[in-house]
Symmetry: C2
Subunit: 117 residues, 2 copies
């Protein structure tokens, strides 16, 4: 190897700036991270999360969400449960209706892992 082939930066510096690509994550981190990503990795849940976040007042009741899909109410409730268990939304019952609200913190944590420096 000639002098011109010697790297000026270490491998971790030259490759990428994303923390995920800069440092190998361990199995436990991978397991936790994959749980959140699995909750997001579905087109119905992505639309639900986006609809809830962009809805007037920052919240939406299940009845409004069900109207937006060609899916049964139990199916929508199932997806909302998965989003809630992943920490992406919260629910609050007010009278007959249950309102869902987006929690942006988890998405921001993902940003921290994926972002370039």
């Amino acid at each position: 190897m000639s002098i011109t082939e010697l790297p000026l930066l270490t491998s971790t510096e030259m490759v990428c700036c994303s923390p995920l690509l800069r440092e190998p994550i361990d199995e436990e981190q991978a397991e936790r991270l994959s749980r959140v990503l699995r909750a997001l990795a579905d087109p119905v849940r992505l639309r639900l999360l986006s609809l809830i976040g962009a809805h007037t007042g920052g919240e939406a009741c299940v009845c409004e969400l069900v109207e937006r899909f060609d899916l049964s109410q139990p199916t929508i409730s199932h997806h909302l449960k998965l989003l809630r268990e992943a920490g992406l939304i919260t629910s609050e019952r007010r009278g007959t209706w249950v309102y869902y609200r987006a929690l942006p913190e988890v998405l921001e944590q993902l940003t921290g892992l994926f972002r370039a420096a």
Copy 2:
């Protein structure tokens, strides 16, 4: 509604700063986004991606990756294929070995969708 209850900001401004939560995405966007997230939503693939990105020189051959898991070589090859099809890594054959390299662009695009302003 009294004057004090009138929102000072529109719903899209008050709720959140993430583009995903600020504007409802359509079905096609959700479908495309979910494909990338499905590729990431697995602990083995997350570790593979991280190992590749953090590896010396920014690339790793399959043989080095297989050693890190209690999984068969075909299984690792399968996961690498899914990561490649999602645009997260690329492969290059050099002699007997196939080297994989991380492509940070897709992760950065996710950051743009999830990030706070």
